[in-house]
């Protein structure tokens, strides 16, 4: 067993785990955080996407021991004070989901994308989500949701800027 200490959704965690335990299984089975789904289990579909130190990763291809000392964010960690995260709100508003299985991964990949590129073009969104598959093929509304989330974030940043300069 290996001892790991890490931060998950802002909370310090400390566990003894088998070195072979995958991060996605640690999150789902040890911590009970079931948002990240195991889809393909081969680094292809992106349903298990979480943020590791703010960057999107596929948690089926990361060992829990590799996350020791780092900061993990799952979809459970996005909403605050009962308010959906802007990306979650945009996915709901624009119906960026059908069966919902890929959604936590799509949302986390989007949060990661917008932190790196807050104002992406439609083509950049499509390319940034190439590692996330939607078996319902509901891509059009997913792209709409991502662009809307970016626009909303830009608008609120703009408003905050106006307020600051006033």
């Amino acid at each position: 067993m290996s001892h790991i200490e890490l931060t998950v959704n802002g909370e310090k965690r400390s566990d003894d785990v088998e070195p072979r335990l995958l991060l996605v299984h640690y999150l789902r089975e040890v911590l009970g955080l079931r948002a990240a789904n195991v889809g393909c289990d081969t680094t292809s579909c992106g349903a298990c996407t979480v943020l590791l130190d703010g960057k999107s990763v596929k948690s089926c291809t990361v060992l829990a021991v590799q996350a020791a000392g780092h900061d993990v964010t799952t979809a459970e960690g996005l909403a605050s004070a009962g308010e959906l995260h802007p990306v979650q709100a945009a996915f709901r508003q624009h119906h960026g989901l059908q069966c919902g299985f890929c959604t936590p991964g799509m949302v986390m990949a989007t949060v990661g994308l917008l932190s790196e590129n807050p104002d992406p073009t439609e083509m950049q969104v499509r390319e940034a989500l190439e590692g996330n598959l939607c078996r319902c093929t509901g891509y059009h509304n997913i792209i709409k949701a991502v662009l809307a989330a970016a626009e909303a974030a830009q608008a609120s940043a703009w408003a905050a800027g106006i307020e600051e300069s006033a």
């Binding site: 680094t43 990361v62 060992l63 021991v65 990661g112 994308l113």
Partner: protein, 270 residues
């Protein structure tokens, strides 16, 4: 899918990793980003008894200049390589190749040292290293040695790295402003190349046209002798031995190599 059981040690230096390799030999494997090794372990194609994690060694990450070369730490991740202003200015072909690997999540984890050590002939970075005429630095118990890209790859998933050596750095010539071309033919987003071509300054490298990344020597020689791009590209598949799979048979890969080489030479940027 769950990997077989193994022991795990986070190395605190390259020397620590080497000493563990010396004492465990073939039973140990280095882990950095884990995006080649972990999928193989999950499929039980690999079952090392000890994983030595060098992914956290900041001393092995980052990009610097050394005379007329760029030195890239082995644990530099694809996303950081692709975004590096230094790499984009001095070796834009390499930055571009890093941005073609997998998808954003994979590029956040995978490392250049891992990709080169894994030595998949269909991969982007091995082909880019061969095109650039770069080299790799290997550190073992007896010191370091530098191996040119043309001598590094031995066969499918096989390199000259010895069981007690760590690939610590990658060196590529600084080529600011030198035109380069890059073509990768895939049927799906984020796939491996069915065939890939990287060209810069008279050197042409091919991905997935044999058991290692290959130089298109006959096409290079034709270019050097003054042949037109179209005529030189006709020789791109000479002396190659591509495999066959569900995506492409041998003849189709040869056809692709010729077409993509012509495109890589015609559409150069830099």
């Amino acid at each position: 899918m769950i990997p077989a059981q193994f022991e795990y040690v986070a190395a605190d230096s390259a020397e620590h990793a080497i000493s563990l390799l010396v004492s465990h030999g073939d039973d140990a494997k280095l882990l950095a980003g884990g995006h080649s090794l972990l999928p193989m372990m999950k499929l039980r194609l690999a079952a090392p008894e000890l994983l030595i994690d060098i992914g956290g060694l900041t001393e092995l990450a980052g990009v610097a200049t050394d005379g007329d070369e760029l030195v890239i730490g082995a644990t530099t991740r694809h996303a950081d390589l692709a975004a590096s202003e230094l790499v984009r200015a001095e070796a834009p072909l390499l930055a571009y190749a890093a941005a073609q690997v997998g998808d954003p999540q994979i590029r956040h984890r995978g490392t250049i040292g891992g990709s080169l050590s894994h030595a998949d002939p269909a991969a982007d970075l091995p082909m880019a290293l061969v095109a650039l005429g770069g080299s790799v630095t290997l550190q073992g118990p007896g010191g370091t040695r530098t191996v040119p890209a043309d001598d590094f790859f031995l066969g499918y998933f096989e390199t000259v790295v010895q069981p007690d050596e760590v690939l610590v750095a990658v060196r590529v010539p600084r080529r600011p402003g030198v035109p380069w071309g890059y073509q990768k033919f895939v049927r799906r987003a984020n796939d491996w190349a069915i065939v890939g071509v990287a060209a810069i300054d008279g050197r042409i490298a091919l991905a997935n046209m044999g058991p290692t990344p290959l130089r298109a020597i006959a096409a290079e020689q034709a270019l050097a002798a003054g042949a037109s791009v179209a005529d030189a590209a006709e020789h791109a598949a000479d002396e190659t031995s591509p495999g066959e799979d569900m995506h492409a048979d041998r003849e189709y890969r040869r056809h692709l190599a010729r077409v993509l080489t012509r495109r890589a030479l015609e559409h150069q940027t830099g």
